[in-house]
C-alpha cells in the first residue's frame, strides 16, 4: 500500500438476509481526505460504514492501512436511554485517562457542567457532540461519521460540521461522512460517493453532482424535497 493510502475498497458486495445492499463498490481513502457519502434512505450508507468497521459480512476487498486507529460515530444509540449513564459514565466506558477525557471534552466544546448530566437528558445536538467525543478517545486517525436521519440541530455558535472541520484540521483526521445535506457535501468534502445500492457517481462534488446524477441517485425524491422547500419559504 502506498504511504498516503488509508483504505482501499474493491468490488465490495454486501448482502443482508438475501438482499443486495451494496453492489460492486470500489473507492480509496487517502490521508487527509474528507469523503462524503450521499444517497436516499435505505441506500446502504450506514451498512457501508458498518461493513468497513468489520461488523457485517461482505464479499470483495476492504484493506485498511496497518494498525490504523478508527473512530466511529454511530447514527444514534436508541438504547442508551434505558440506562442511567451520565456523560462521564458513558465516556469512561472507553477507558480514557483523566487528561484525555478532559481534552476530548474541551475539543468538542463541552462545558464541565455537562459531565454529570444524564445522557438521556441531552439535546440532540449535545448528544451528537457526545458521540463525537466518544469517537475521539484513543486518538483515531480516521473518523467514520454517520449522520442521524433527523439532521442535527444548530446549537451555540459552532455547528457540528464546523466542529468536524476544525477537528479534522487540528488532529489531521481522515474523514468518511454519511450525510443527507448536499451543502455539507460541497463545503466539507473533496470527494463524494453517491450510493443507491449501486455506486451512482464518485469524484469531486462540483464535477459529479450533476442534475442527471442527482436524479439517478434520488429519483423523484429530490423533486419532493424541493417542493417542500418552496412551500416552507
Amino acid at each position: 500500500m502506498k504511504d498516503d493510502l488509508v483504505l482501499r475498497v474493491k468490488e465490495l458486495n454486501v448482502e443482508l438476509e438475501g438482499e443486495t445492499v451494496i453492489n460492486n463498490l470500489s473507492f480509496e481513502l487517502r490521508k487527509g481526505d474528507a469523503v462524503t457519502i450521499i444517497g436516499p434512505n435505505g441506500a446502504g450508507k450506514t451498512v457501508l460504514l458498518k461493513t468497513l468497521l468489520g461488523l457485517l459480512p461482505y464479499k470483495g476487498e476492504i484493506i485498511w492501512k496497518k494498525n490504523i486507529r478508527i473512530g466511529y460515530v454511530p447514527q444514534r444509540l436508541p438504547f442508551i436511554k434505558d440506562i442511567p449513564l451520565s456523560v462521564k459514565d458513558f465516556l469512561k466506558l472507553k477507558r480514557p485517562s483523566e487528561k484525555e477525557l478532559e481534552e476530548t471534552l474541551n475539543s468538542v466544546g463541552f462545558k464541565q457542567n455537562l459531565l454529570d448530566k444524564k445522557t438521556g437528558d441531552l439535546s440532540s445536538g449535545q448528544f451528537q457532540r457526545l458521540l463525537i467525543a466518544w469517537s475521539l478517545i484513543k486518538d483515531p486517525q480516521v473518523l467514520l461519521f454517520d449522520e442521524p436521519t433527523t439532521g442535527i440541530d444548530i446549537e451555540g455558535e459552532e455547528t457540528v460540521y464546523r466542529l468536524l472541520e476544525r477537528l479534522k484540521e487540528s488532529r489531521e483526521l481522515t474523514v468518511l461522512l454519511v450525510t443527507h445535506d448536499l451543502s455539507v457535501v460541497y463545503t466539507f468534502s473533496n470527494n463524494v460517493i453517491c450510493l443507491n445500492k449501486q455506486p451512482i457517481c464518485h469524484g469531486l462534488p462540483q464535477k459529479v453532482l450533476t442534475p442527471e446524477n442527482l436524479k439517478r441517485l434520488y429519483g423523484e425524491e429530490v423533486k419532493y424535497y424541493r417542493h417542500k422547500h418552496l412551500n416552507a419559504s
Partner: protein, 253 residues
C-alpha cells in the same frame, strides 16, 4: 435463632447480587427473562424435593437447559425472545405439575429460605461472592454492549463471549433465587431493585449501589417480617420491594 441468621445471610447475599445483576438486565430490556427462567426451574425443584437434594442444585441444570433452548429456538425461528421464553417456560411449568409433590408445592413456588443449613449457606455465600466479582469485572463492557453491540464490536470486544458469561450469571442467580423467593417470584428479585433505583438515579454509581442496597434491604426485612408474622419470606421480600418501588415512583421528579 441461628437458623434465622443463616436465612438472613443467604437472603441478603442473594438479594444484593440479584439487584446488581438486575441493573444489567434492565439495561438490556431483559428484566423479565428471569421470570420464565424461574418457572423453568420447577421440574428441577420437584426432582430435588422428591429425592431430597438441594433445590438450587435441581434448579440450575433446568435454567441452563432453558437458556440454551431459547437461544437455539431463536436462531432457528427468528421469533422474538420474549415469545420463545413464553413457550419454553409454560412447558417447564406443565411438566413440573405432572410430578411435583403437591404438599411441598409452596416451597417450590414461593421459596423457603428458613430451611437452609450451614453448608447451603456457605455455598450460597461463596457463589454469590464469585458472581458479584464477575459482574464487577464485566460491568463496563456489558454496559457498552447494552448501549450498542456495534459500538462494542467496533472496539474489538468479543460480544458473544460476554453474552455467554452474562447468561451463566443469570442462571446461577435464578437457581439461588428460587431458594429464597421461589420460582414464581425470582424475576421480581432481579427486576424490582433496578426499576426502583433507575427512577431516582442520575448516574451509574447511584443506579448500581442503589439496586444492591434495595436488594439487601428488601431481603433482610422480608425475612425478618416473616419471622415475626409467620408468612413465608419470599412473598414478603417481594412486597417490601414493591413498596420501595412505589415510593420511588412518587419521589421521581
Amino acid at each position: 435463632m441461628s437458623s434465622l441468621l443463616l436465612s438472613l445471610t443467604v437472603g441478603t447475599f442473594v438479594g444484593g447480587v440479584a439487584g446488581y445483576l438486575g441493573t444489567l438486565m434492565l439495561g438490556r430490556r431483559m428484566a423479565l427473562v428471569a421470570g420464565p427462567l424461574g418457572h423453568l426451574t420447577l421440574p428441577g425443584i420437584a426432582l430435588a424435593l422428591i429425592y431430597g437434594f438441594d433445590i438450587s442444585l435441581g434448579a440450575f441444570p433446568f435454567v441452563v437447559l432453558g437458556i440454551v433452548s431459547i437461544w437455539l429456538f431463536e436462531m432457528r425461528t427468528k421469533l422474538p425472545m420474549e415469545a420463545l421464553t413464553a413457550v419454553v417456560f409454560a412447558s417447564g411449568v406443565a411438566i413440573a405439575f405432572l410430578f411435583l409433590p403437591i404438599g411441598q408445592a409452596e416451597a417450590a413456588l414461593v421459596g423457603d429460605v428458613s430451611t437452609v443449613n450451614l453448608l447451603d449457606a456457605t455455598i450460597s455465600v461463596v457463589l454469590m461472592t464469585l458472581v458479584f466479582l464477575t459482574i464487577l469485572k464485566i460491568y463496563p463492557t456489558m454496559t457498552l454492549i447494552n448501549v450498542s453491540e456495534d459500538l462494542a464490536k467496533s472496539q474489538g470486544i468479543k460480544v458473544k463471549k460476554y453474552n455467554f458469561i452474562y447468561l451463566l450469571l443469570i442462571a446461577i442467580i435464578v437457581a439461588l433465587g428460587v431458594k429464597v423467593v421461589g420460582s414464581l417470584l425470582t424475576a421480581a428479585l432481579v427486576a424490582i431493585p433496578a426499576c426502583s433505583t433507575r427512577n431516582l438515579s442520575k448516574n451509574m454509581l447511584q443506579y448500581v449501589l442503589g439496586a444492591i442496597i434495595v436488594g439487601i434491604v428488601s431481603s433482610f426485612s422480608g425475612i425478618l417480617l416473616s419471622e415475626f408474622s409467620g408468612f413465608p419470606a419470599g412473598p414478603l421480600i417481594i412486597l417490601v420491594n414493591s413498596v420501595i418501588f412505589l415510593t420511588s415512583t412518587i419521589l421521581k421528579r
